[in-house]
C-alpha cells in the first residue's frame, strides 16, 4: 500500500468519523420538531473547525512527503470530476427530499440548512478521498 493510499484512508476515516460525530450532536441537541436551540451550532462549529484543521494538516504533510507528480495530478483531476458529479447528484437528492418533506408546511426549518452547510463540505472531502483511492485501481491506460 503506497504512502498516499494510507494517508487517503486516514483522511477518509477521520472525515467520516467527524461527519457521524456532528450528525449525532446535531440530532441529539435539536429535535426535528423544535426550532429553538443554539448550542448545537457552537458544538458543530468547533467539531467542524477541528476536522478542517486536521484535513488541511494531513494534506500538507502528504504533499510535503510525497510530492505531486504527473500521475498524482492526473488522479486528482479525475477524482475532482467524479466528486463534482456525485455531489451534484447528492445535493439534488437531499434538497428535493427536504422540499417534499416540507411541501405542506410551506417552509423549511432553518436548522436543516445549517446542517447541510457542514455536511456538504465533509461529503465533498469524503467523495474526493474515495475517488483518490478508486481511480488508481482503475488506472490510466493507453487508449485501445
Amino acid at each position: 500500500m503506497s504512502y498516499r493510499t494510507k494517508m487517503n484512508l486516514i483522511i477518509l476515516m477521520l472525515q467520516t468519523a467527524f461527519l457521524i460525530l456532528y450528525s449525532i450532536v446535531f440530532f441529539n441537541d435539536v429535535s426535528l420538531f423544535i426550532s429553538d436551540g443554539t448550542d448545537y451550532r457552537i458544538n458543530i462549529s468547533i467539531i467542524f473547525a477541528i476536522s478542517m484543521m486536521l484535513y488541511l494538516s494531513l494534506q500538507m504533510i502528504m504533499n510535503k512527503k510525497d510530492k505531486l507528480d504527473e500521475r498524482n495530478k492526473n488522479i486528482e483531476a479525475r477524482s475532482s470530476n467524479v466528486t463534482i458529479v456525485s455531489m451534484i447528484i447528492v445535493t439534488f437528492t437531499l434538497v428535493v427530499t427536504l422540499y417534499l418533506l416540507h411541501l405542506e408546511n410551506g417552509s423549511i426549518p432553518i436548522y436543516w440548512l445549517w446542517y447541510f452547510m457542514y455536511t456538504f463540505i465533509s461529503l465533498n472531502i469524503i467523495a474526493f478521498t474515495i475517488s483518490n483511492l478508486i481511480v488508481p485501481l482503475i488506472g490510466n491506460k493507453y487508449e485501445s
Binding site: N72, G139, K141, E143
Partner: protein, 71 residues
Amino acid sequence: MKVKKVTNNIKELRFKNDNMTQQALAELVGCSRQTIHVLENNRYSPSFVLIKKIAKVFNVNVEEVIQIELE
C-alpha cells in the same frame, strides 16, 4: 487510429544500469516510485516529457524506452 499494443523496456534498462531501483529512477526523473511501477506494468499512459527524461537517464532513444504499435 487506435493504439494496438504498448510495450516498454524500463525494467530491463534499470537492470542493465547497475540494477537501478525504481526509487532511484523516480528521483532522477522527478516522479514517485509508484509511477515508475505502474509505468513498467503498462497501467499508466505517461507524458512524452516523462518518457524523454527516462530516455535521457539511460542515454537511449525514446523508441528504446517505449514501443507503441498503432492500428
